[in-house]
């Protein structure tokens, strides 16, 4: 198992290099150069152009692209992410500030959609053809097709403004910092963010479960005289679970994309919200770092999915 993980990690490295290279290429093609990216803009304005040229030379901007890439990537690896153009703040500091909020929101949404989606999908499969199944299918279709910001606005309108049950937005109030204080703020954005994913997981879990239930080993399990719950859950659901987990891994980019919008709707102080304002103000270094970071997150997620699948499915675990 450990060698399996190690091998998967090794295959990630070339991918990560390729992607960082593409992103750096993008950064290089945008207007402005490294000097304007590294020095806080307010300082640049006051600097003498000749000084700047000297600086460019000393930084090796005359050097070939590949060499510059090398310098950049080693910097990133050491935690030197460069500066945001707006305000000249260190990008690493922005990440430190904003990342926990984003992680909290996406993890909550991930957990909700995985659990809720699998349960609803399984119920749907076990009651197939009945009213419950059809109702769930319709709800699932709506969930997949209606954009999340719409749900977000409706939720704010109903639960925050009309009913006053939950706060309109934000992550916390000043002075209230414990998780339990923050929980009411988290509920709405997390639920709304998880809607689309829940619907997707549900539909997938349903078909995966139906597929599992039609397999021969289900009949074998029944022929042993075991009760239906055991046949359906231990034999059916357990086998249906593997593809569902793989799907969730593939859907993570959707979650990341969704969190950008949901953070905006709910004024959630995360990376996604930062990303939107960075795009709007053409803050390329920040945009690039967020992009690089998201891609890495997806890569890492795919690794975790692989490990989970291996843990769940003995054929993968022992098959190599």
């Amino acid at each position: 198992m450990l060698t399996y993980i190690a091998r998967r990690l090794l295959t990630l490295i070339p991918m990560a290099i390729a992607i960082s290279f593409l992103i750096y290429l993008g950064l290089d093609l945008t207007p402005g150069d490294a000097v304007s990216h590294m020095i806080p803009p307010d300082v640049i304005g006051t600097m003498d152009p000749e000084r700047l040229d000297e600086l460019r030379e000393s930084l090796g901007l005359g050097k070939p692209f590949l060499v510059r890439y090398w310098i950049w990537i080693t910097g990133v690896l050491q935690g030197d992410f460069g500066y945001s153009l707006a305000g000249g703040v260190q990008i690493s500091k922005i990440f430190l500030d904003r990342l926990p909020a984003t992680l909290e929101l996406s993890c909550a949404a991930l957990v909700i959609s995985t659990i809720l989606g699998s349960i609803l999908g399984t119920i749907s499969a076990l009651t197939r053809g009945t009213f419950a199944d059809q109702a769930l299918t319709v709800v699932g279709m709506l969930g997949v097709s209606i954009p999340e910001f719409f749900f977000g606005l409706v939720a704010i309108l109903v639960f925050a403004l009309n009913l006053g049950w939950l706060p309109v937005g934000g992550r916390t109030l000043p002075g209230y910092d414990s998780f339990w204080d923050r929980l009411p703020h988290l509920i709405m954005p997390a639920l709304v963010l998880s809607i689309m994913m829940t619907a997707g997981v549900m539909r997938y879990a349903r078909s995966s479960m139906l597929d599992a239930l039609s397999r021969d080993f289900i009949r074998t399990a029944r022929s042993k005289g075991m009760p239906e719950w055991r046949v359906n859950l231990l034999h059916g659901f357990r086998v249906a679970l593997t593809p569902v987990i793989v799907l969730i891994g593939f859907r993570l980019p959707v979650l990341i994309g969704g969190s950008v919008i949901i953070e905006q709707v709910f004024q959630w102080p995360g990376i996604g919200k930062e990303f939107l304002s960075a795009v709007r103000s053409q803050d390329y270094p920040l945009v690039m770092m967020v992009a690089l970071f998201s891609v890495m997150a997806v890569l890492l997620a795919s690794l975790i999915v692989d490990i989970l699948t291996a843990l769940i499915d003995p054929r993968v675990r022992l098959g190599d």
């Binding site: 021969d216 074998t220 029944r222 022929s223 042993k224 593997t242 003995p314 054929r315 022992l318 098959g319």
Partner: protein, 343 residues
């Protein structure tokens, strides 16, 4: 029905009477079993033979009520003669408690394809032990020990290690042994084996059959063996039932049926296989024509279209006729064939 001493057959294990199982698909009805009757006895093997699609698997599935979703036992009865007296299986709720108490414990089943019949995500040991969990009072350790014993008795090497392995590490023959180990784990009175060796090669086939024969002799298990191989029938069967299109066209003790086949379909089946020892010049004749559409069956004799001996009477369904105490046939002209054989 509550009579505990059925005179002529003290060893009767299961009797099926006039069983009709219909399968519904696309709003059409497939009369997959159309009046099937047979008995299974303790310590005997009943072989059911017939071409693909004739209803062998549906017969087996009906006995354990493991039928596809849109299907139903419409008529007839399936009586299991257990230690606690006869039980009418067709009246039990499909997955109800009483049906489940019979499955595995009283009547166990081995399926056609060992590659797909085992759950890939559980170890072989787990799949044996869960049977013991439901039908015995053994504790955890005892179940594990029993699982190892079962694998050993099925001739699987290193059972202590193998018991923890997953099905994909087992070869086809070993999986089928594991399936038999599962089926035999609770000492069932009846073992139903649905073409247990079609997916396996010949030597392994012979080993599996030997295993089943031993079980029959040593445990007195009643075996219902489904096959389409007449050679297997000749070797293993005590009784044989020949099926065609959802009906038993001829049934009886294996010696009588093979030596003295009275139904043209039985004869055709026997002619369609080579017989060892008869030399190279023996005539092998494939059965001409095709089986009718199961959704649109002829009203008369099902085999008439393909039959060399067809007469006008065949447009009507021939009744099952008892030609001796144990030999019966469903053909209008069986008397002539009997006379032929007597000459």
């Amino acid at each position: 029905m509550t009579d505990r001493t059925p005179g002529p057959d003290p060893e009767l294990a299961l009797s099926v009477r006039d069983l009709k199982t219909y399968i519904y698909a696309n709003n059409r009805c497939n009369r997959a079993l159309d009046g099937v009757s047979f008995d299974i006895h303790r310590g005997k093997t009943l072989c059911i033979v017939g071409e693909s699609g004739c209803g062998k698997s549906v017969t087996a599935a009906s006995i354990l009520q493991l039928l596809p979703e849109l299907s139903r036992i419409e008529e007839g009865e399936i009586v299991y003669h257990g230690a606690e007296g006869p039980v009418n299986i067709e009246r039990l709720k499909r997955n109800g408690r009483r049906m489940r108490a019979i499955r595995g414990k009283e009547i166990a089943m081995i399926f056609q394809d060992p590659m797909t019949a085992l759950n890939p995500v559980y170890s072989i040991g787990f799949q044996i032990k869960e049977m013991l969990l439901y039908h015995t009072r053994l504790g955890k350790r005892a179940r594990h020990a029993k699982a190892i014993d079962l694998l050993r008795s099925m001739g699987i090497p290193l059972p202590e290690k193998r018991v923890r392995e997953y099905p994909h590490l087992y070869s086809g023959g070993m999986r089928q042994r594991a399936m038999i180990a599962i089926a035999m784990s609770c000492d069932p009175r009846i073992l139903i084996a649905d073409e247990p060796t079609t997916a396996l090669d010949v030597t392994i086939q012979a080993q599996i059959f030997e295993l089943m024969d031993t079980l029959k002799r040593e445990q007195g298990t009643a075996i219902m063996l489904i096959t389409h191989d007449m050679g297997v029938v000749a070797e293993l069967a005590d009784d044989v039932a020949v099926m065609y299109m959802g009906q038993i066209v001829e049934a009886g003790p294996v010696g009588q049926v093979l030596r003295n086949p009275l139904h043209p379909y039985t004869r055709a089946l026997l002619e369609s296989i080579p017989v060892l020892g008869r030399g190279k010049n023996q005539q092998i004749r494939a059965i001409p024509g095709q089986t009718p559409d199961p959704y649109d069956r002829p009203t008369g004799c099902q085999f008439a279209e393909r039959c060399r001996y067809r007469v006008d009477a065949c447009a009507e369904m021939p009744p099952e006729t008892q030609v001796s105490s144990s030999h019966r046939v469903r053909c209008w002209r069986h008397r002539e064939f009997m006379a032929d054989a007597a000459e």
